[in-house]
Symmetry: none
DNA sequence: AAATGATATGTAAAATTATTCAATTTATTT
DNA sequence: AAATAAATTGAATAATTTTACATATCATTT
């Protein structure tokens, strides 16, 4: 039907916020939201979204969205750093963004981010290869990504 | 048998160098190397190694090792550090965990945490005696504690 | 609008993967 | 060393996931 786009969106949100261990579980979660599809469709959806099924330490499994990697922008604001592949990935949790970099690069890149002087970003905290980015309230993930000039691939 | 350790090593090497799309494929690759096991054992091995099955863009699947490969350490050095009392406490605020360590230990322990390659943890940022742990959305506090192999007396 | 081609989806079956149970080996304790 | 516990594995089965096929829906062209 025409709900596919919407359904895929809901699925990614669900997988981001919930531990889902099987397609049947996901099916039930969707059913609660009035989205009725068969498990076969979910198999196709997950394949499309490149969702991986991975074992957890507690002995169960979890479907995980692909990491938002693939940074590189031809000439972005952090141009020379990102174009050298120093930024490895950026992911979100709640209103926070966590950027992974090559070892040693974090504080340099964090400096760049800070010095963009974007109102959207309250501040950053850098370790060795990880930067915690604290966005202002109400700033969306997309805004952050745009700001970072990051073209990402999160499924399709 | 006693080949398990060795077999796990071979499996990680195979998965690193080859695109393996099913356990049966892996079974054949191992057989070529005189390692004869059943699919059931491989299922267990892959679970142990936290190998995820993920869809590729070409429509097929691939078994992928967890990020930052440490793979062969069943318990790892992390346990070692905590068992020596370097970790003093862990507390939560919102979806964040703050771990206190003995002075100077933070970055070492953060490194261990990162290199567990757990999908549950987005990243860590370490100071001198404090580590900020950013869990993936939807990950519970209990999961984090379990992951850390820590049994703290809850509150009280 | 009719025709054509591409998408989307359910059903059923095939394929794959996970687990139960029993047996065996290996390690630990007495 | 004997006894006991823990770990490893295979066979068979259960559970889960993928896919072939048929239909239906949607989009585009004529």
């Amino acid at each position: 039907m025409k709900n596919k786009r919407n359904r895929l969106q809901i699925i990614t949100e669900l997988l981001r916020s919930t531990v889902v261990g099987s397609q049947e579980e996901l099916l039930n979660l969707l059913a609660e939201r009035k989205l009725n599809v068969t498990q076969a469709t979910l198999s196709r959806d997950l394949k499309l979204l490149k969702v991986a099924k991975t074992p957890l330490t507690n002995g169960t499994y979890k479907y995980v969205l692909p990491p938002i990697t693939k940074t590189i922008s031809p000439q972005g604001t952090f141009n020379h750093l990102t174009s050298h592949g120093a930024v490895l990935s950026i992911e979100f949790s709640g209103n926070l963004a966590v950027m992974k970099t090559k070892p040693g690069y974090a504080s340099a890149i964090a400096w760049d981010i800070d010095n963009k002087g974007s109102v959207e970003i309250l501040g950053t905290i850098a370790g060795d290869d990880t930067i915690l980015i604290i966005p202002r309230e109400g700033v969306t993930r997309e805004q952050i990504l745009t700001l970072m000039d990051i073209t990402f691939s999160e499924g399709k």
